[in-house]
Amino acid sequence: MTDAERFDAIYREYRPKVLDYIHSHVNDPQDAEDLCSEVFRKALEHLDPESGKGVSSYIYTITRNTVVDYYRTRRVHTPLPETLPAEDSMEETVLNGETLERLAGALRRLPDRERDILVLHYYADNSLQEIANKMALPYGVTKRAHQSALHRLRTLLADG
């Protein structure tokens, strides 16, 4: 298989993921298409098609950075979405399917209330006050449950 064929295979596998991800952060469909093209232009410049290892996290990182640049340079009046992670955190977190499986397993082992709070807060980007309203809980209870959830999740992830 030539490099061009390998890159083509990567493009076909990852284009839907890149586009879906961009759509989750960028509302304008044309901008999303343009950003998707930009991601693969950058990937083509640096990606080693021989190395299948880490392709997912590599393309995700390019995609995330491209979306951040979009907000910083082209949409200065639109705040950066809260759900976009900080760059230093991305360097310190292992990004692969196994880590996501471990997170899923740990979340499943949490009490329902704590699992719900973590998903609503960190995935759906709800504030703790919004979560308190949705769950019909006092804010203080929600805040304590959030802390407890983090503590328990840390233990579960450390235990593997």
């Binding site: 991800y21 992670p85 977190t93 899923a104 998903v119 983090l150 999740l153």
Partner: protein, 70 residues
């Protein structure tokens, strides 16, 4: 540190769509999707406003669990 890692992993999930984690997420979001605030049309808002004038204290009545009406 853990909070940043969770945020990163959930964002990576938007990209990678791991099936196990997506099941957990969909289950949670599905549970609370039903209790999003309703968006009312202008007609419905007018009707609601009319109802309030006829019974100005209605909005202060507690619902079944005493938390007050949403």
């Amino acid at each position: 540190m853990l909070e940043a890692a969770i945020k990163t992993l959930f964002d990576y999930q938007r990209f990678e769509r791991n099936a196990s984690l997506q099941d957990v997420i969909d289950e949670v979001l599905g549970r609370y999707a039903q209790i999003q605030p309703l968006e009312l049309s202008d007609d419905e808002l007018s009707m609601a406003a009319g109802g309030t004038r006829e019974n100005p204290d209605a909005s202060q009545e507690p619902d079944y669990d005493g938390r007050g009406k949403v």
